[in-house]
Symmetry: D2
């Protein structure tokens, strides 16, 4: 019979692992292993004919209170599989630090541009108009020249941005305030068409009330990192596979395509294992990712089938229809995995069973519902 001596075997194999170091010695040679610079391709289902572009519209660099050079933001985005970023340094109170020059708010965009060309990343010119609440912080995206936004009067700054055709995003409306509130100034901006979207997710937190505003007032839904540190240091990629981001349903992978989608509210937010957005989009997303197999085996008391999830987003399902017995209360389908579902044959009811997808969020009070089996 085939037997094996682990110690000997281990010994044999160790020899090959160590080989490199020995050969290294006679000559100058590299040791160790640099991580191959490669782009992680995030796998998400198609929604209609739109490309699902992965975007982060709120990013800082050394040129405000961030700690890295702008070109790194492009490299990070490329490695993580993003399509577009906006570098949005604070316009006020520059330079943030000793040793930096002052007076030109376009430095960070310029410093990242060549890397963006090389990495095929869409780099959107933007800046953050920074005031205490109200109105709080506002990002102006797709602007021509940031220097003209450096105004004492923030209304003037926002108007300048608007006149340049900017998309105006209200950043982290609930951050650092005791009560999240839609102030008169927001109403005014909204009426003027100078408030186009709200950052419902920011860095680590999200603002359910703001999601209601987006739904009620028909604004654009956004979620971004607001990163100041290095992305890999801010998010633990053992815990989550990706940074929080805005998914943009674009007709084409261009800056224009993104601008069109933002102004037409074709977005979702993807944070940790959660997706937030219009019911219609979430439903198409779910059914683009998930397949339920027919019953492949039937024992005396049970039916066996399989649910497959081809996407990078796991799904957590919870049974809504408590009356229906013999169906699992909960089903978790990890990314790129399948799970076996065992159904009791006792259930005589017919018709599908309603499940709530706990991580697909339509509103603070509503999750996507899907009918299974």
């Amino acid at each position: 019979m085939k037997t094996r001596n682990v110690w000997i075997l281990a010994a044999l194999l160790c020899g090959q692992i160590g080989v490199q170091a020995q050969e290294a010695l006679p000559k100058e040679v590299k040791v160790g292993k640099e991580r191959i610079k490669a782009r992680h391709e995030i796998c998400l289902p198609q929604i209609d004919d739109y490309q699902l572009l992965k975007c982060d519209f709120h990013i800082h660099t050394i040129f405000s209170d961030g700690i890295v050079w702008p070109s790194l933001r492009v490299q990070e985005a490329w490695e993580e599989g993003l399509d577009a970023i906006a570098i949005t340094d604070h316009i006020e109170g520059q330079p943030a630090r000793r040793g930096l020059q002052t007076g030109n708010h376009n430095y960070s965009f310029d410093a990242a541009r060549e890397e963006a060309f090389r990495r095929n990343i869409i780099l959107i010119k933007g800046g953050e108009i920074t005031r205490s609440m109200p109105p709080g912080h506002l990002n102006a995206l797709f602007v021509e020249d940031l220097n003209v936004l450096d105004q004492k009067d923030y209304m003037k700054a926002i108007e300048e941005a608007h006149n340049q055709g900017a998309f105006i995003q209200w950043n982290h409306p609930g951050w650092g305030v005791n009560e999240i509130k839609w102030h008169d100034v927001h109403e005014e901006l909204y009426k003027k068409g100078w408030l186009n979207g709200i950052e419902v997710f920011n860095e680590f937190e999200w603002y359910p009330v703001a999601l209601d505003w987006v739904n009620e007032k028909n604004l654009t839904l956004l979620g971004n990192t607001d990163v100041h540190d290095v992305i890999e240091r801010l998010y633990d990629f053992q815990t989550t596979t990706h940074r929080p981001m805005t998914l943009v349903l674009a007709k084409e992978r261009t800056e224009e395509g993104i601008k069109d989608a933002l102004f037409n509210r074709r977005t979702m937010v993807y944070f940790y294992d959660n997706l937030m957005g219009k019911k219609e989009y979430l439903d198409k997303f779910f059914w683009g990712a998930v397949q339920v197999s027919p019953v492949y085996y039937s024992s005396e008391k049970r039916n066996y089938l399989e649910i497959k999830n081809s996407s990078d987003v796991p799904f957590r399902l919870k049974k809504v229809d408590k009356a229906r017995k013999g169906y699992p209360e909960r089903i978790e389908i990890p990314a790129r995995h399948s799970v076996t579902v065992v159904l009791s044959k006792d259930d005589n009811n017919t018709g599908k069973v309603q499940y709530e997808v706990e991580n697909l969020i339509v509103s603070p009070r509503e999750k996507l519902q899907v009918a299974l089996f």
Copy 2:
């Protein structure tokens, strides 16, 4: 006896992750988190109209010198995304151990069958005819009754297997021998049509000479684990994402489909990051997984493009045509990643550049070649 329903248990636990700190104490409650039992779906490209079935045709259990109950082999296979396994306990010298009954070689198949139905795993009945070299160990696959293979004379055993329509695989021809050799008995079996394939890869080692035999004598190429221990203990899934396996190009996902493919030599071997097989299959596999983008950016001296790998198999490319300057000597494309390729504009030659795919093995002396750019 304490029994357990994984699905229910998993369900219960999912709901309670994290509850511990706040609510665990006053009442009886689950703590911790069981790993969700899910099936990892291996992502490989299509080859023509064939399904690429993931199979392991050499597995042991408690009923020979393995250490686990047969049904676990089905669970392991299911979790790892396999489609089919053959449990092939040694036929000779049973029972291996005190406490086991003797006299019935079909125990292990019977003990795994129900689990195979539940998991939708194709369970192939097989056994290992075990002798010292020559002829060494031979697996008989797709047999009716293993007990009739329990013969003093191994030729008799092989003939019995053949008469039952078995596919006969020569296992690990280079294992435990000083010299790997095609003995007269192998020639005899081969001439009789009683030797249908060779296990060129076994557990941790492969046998280049045997790959030549497969190619020269037009036999079926196979690679299996020969697992005795638990799969997760034998292979470190931090180091490799999958067990070594035989990829079967089947017309349908059935036992018949696999049998047809084996007898018609439609197989490849997938071990660590390497694939072994006919040039035609490897070429279709590579181009099914890889896309080369057009040049998306052109600087003064360089052109930039991207190579994307959508499969779970990384590729390591090495430039063959040394004369061609300005092309990277090596390109590594990790699984599900893209890499940026920077081409110098100096090269005035036209036409594609030849690369060798180091991990796609046609023969001990030949790797797949592809033309790029």
Copy 3:
């Protein structure tokens, strides 16, 4: 200035990674890498002069309803850094499965013994007396002969065990019952001295009420896996670094040393990141692991110091004394890490600040308290 071409560099390095495969081809060689079989040494602080032995007193094998051969239980224990295990197959209703011999309950102990000698693992002979509740399942540990425990009348079985000098453990008192209850029979066993300890933690769940019983009735506290599957498949070692276990404060690393400690109630339970036990032991454990540095830096408004945790157990601290301002509400100190603590200088109070160590459990209503700063 030093600049770098990632692509070239990556290329150079790739070459060395791939080397092995190329050289492999001309001759028969091992490829891949077997995980080195090594014993993970769990790092826990000393408590007085006792050795802290890592033990699992509830384990199943193929000889009841487990799925692995007994010797694997020893290998698992050794690799995970345990000192002792008891294999405790169900005594009733053997054999569990077709293909196994019947009539000898000592098989599993005998089958694991040689491996225990080789691995220097203390193997304790035990069995599980299995009835529905009451009395539920009871483990008899340190028995001579298991066969005499195979009795129709469970009282007879327990008496036999007791007469062999066994330590009797009530297993998972809350498992599979609607209400966890101290029945008359438990009172009777307790009075007779036939009930020595309670398994307050089992597999994934623990029973706070049972912890009260242990404290009130002065019984021995135990926590075990009750593993039927493979340990690595039952517990996700990405989520937890170790199996749940009983920590035994032994005078010597021998079976006698363990038996003495169990009968004298010198135990703690270690599950996930939690420890459960007598306040005295937990307090010595904490201060054996943790060091608080003096203030190493003092800015205008803040003092800076460091807390270091040298053990494999993280600690989660929560401030109890709400009145004291300027101290962190929560402090997490991961295993083998230090954390910086920033104290405001505003606090004029003197004296230490009370913190509750959330993961050191004295009773369902009490955590260990420590005084810091």
Copy 4:
């Protein structure tokens, strides 16, 4: 501007892990989990009465051709368990980039200082005198004022550094040259006492010839990262647990203690799993980490014992004395693990068996030898 107190934030988040599902929705709450900022304590054995300080003496920032703000270098070092760093931006050709001010080489030191105080990291003032080879790049460490080193004539710059009491390190002598060579100018600097040490390891490569120079000329041995990017992006902490570093045998954990050790050549280099240094230090390091147990079990033909490695450095041993049979050819002892050693009883020779520790490097031709069993 949006600023953040990591400690408070971490505290807030710790309490809320898992809350999400149940309570997140109705109100504003944090979701996800920030990686707890903690310092990984590297576990290395004591050598005599010296503290083994973990140092990196070659680091760049935004103020030369690095891409991060200086304070991040302190945070990285603290998290990785280092004791001291020197930020050594290139002195020549500043500023490297548009948007940075010019004319003050002390910016990077000043910008990191406060963070160094808070993190209890020893921050050494240094700069890199940068010329093509010869003399190549030289680090001046422990300088007062970097601006005076900004000289056309590099000899003048080195003299200035020397006059400030600087320790002069020749950086990566083999980097970017066809042939590594000890030029006349190095001889001159050496004679003058203006060349105190050599960086034998740099980033990913090491220079065996330079190790000979260190040994022959009695210079100080150094190994550093020369990091320009973010440490976590440069080194894959899945592949290696730590950055390459210089281990300093210091009498006290102060800048003076380090300076004294460097000038007195009390250093080792720790890169990947390798250690480089004087035989005496390596020997004490090995025996400070490793314990060989007595034989704990003796079967008919074999003796069993255990080797334990308590440090964070694995050891790879290879038998030197081929004549001695029955001893393993190779032994690998992973960090914080033990391995079982099985010795045949056939060997009648007496006396210890010589092993070479492959990853403890004395010279390009010599590894540390140890006598076992």
